[in-house]
Symmetry: C2
Subunit: 144 residues, 2 copies
């Protein structure tokens, strides 16, 4: 693994920025209307939630597949709770991740264990956020 | 401000996931080839770097514009240094943000102050990451 990951973020216009990752993928961020933006792209803080969902989702899918389980779909619903009060900076004091796993013959135990392994061992985004945000998880299995 | 921000992240195929933000913007994440991915989208951890660059970039641009400064371009080069050693989970033990501000008559003092205000008061992404990552900044002004 390289020592560094990197990204470049460049102002386009107004409050619209384009971020390009070191692996060559770009997308737009923008502020909300009312604070100078046009909602042409997601808010920077939403990226933390999407990154967390993607990171732990990759872990959970990998672990379930290694157990030869027939996973049809995995969805993470991620909610970041803003810290209360009028102080700045704002941040997420808590983040809830709800996993919905669809497949055939998937057991609650397998999903619970996969989520635990992601949280405790593999998920880099969770490790980077939980110094500030309390991360809680729940899950639901939907077998065909 | 709403109490929550949210996102939904859904498996597409392989290790490819699509994240959709609560404000309605979607993009692809994928793992690297070699760990089951196809590099069809950015890595989840890269989102933390892009989010940090976008968040502090919005602050810095807003602050410089409020001072009626003629800002032509702002670029943030963001590097996340992986924690050393073989332990898991991996995370960024440090993040460097280099700001490059182009314009007319932009002073170093104005940029330094804007970055300080973003760091200490406004930047939500920095506030969410610095529990784990030591964030350092540098800047360069390029006047026309």
């Amino acid at each position: 693994m390289a020592d560094f990951a990197q990204a470049t973020v460049k102002l386009v216009d107004g409050m619209q920025f384009v971020g390009e990752s070191g692996t060559g993928h770009a997308f737009v961020m923008d502020a909300a209307p009312g604070v100078g933006g046009k909602n042409s792209g997601c808010r920077p803080m939403e990226l933390l939630l999407i990154g967390l969902g993607g990171c732990t989702g990759m872990d959970v899918v990998s672990i379930l597949r290694k157990k030869k389980l027939d996973v049809k779909d995995v969805t993470m619903n991620v909610k970041g709770k803003w810290v209360e009060g009028d102080n700045y900076p704002k941040y997420f004091e808590g983040i809830e991740v709800e996993y919905v796993v669809r497949g055939k013959g998937i057991t609650d135990d397998a999903v619970r264990r996969a989520i635990e392994l992601s949280e405790s061992k593999y998920c880099s985004v969770a490790a980077n956020l939980r110094g500030v945000s309390k991360i809680t998880t729940s899950f639901r299995v939907e077998n065909e």
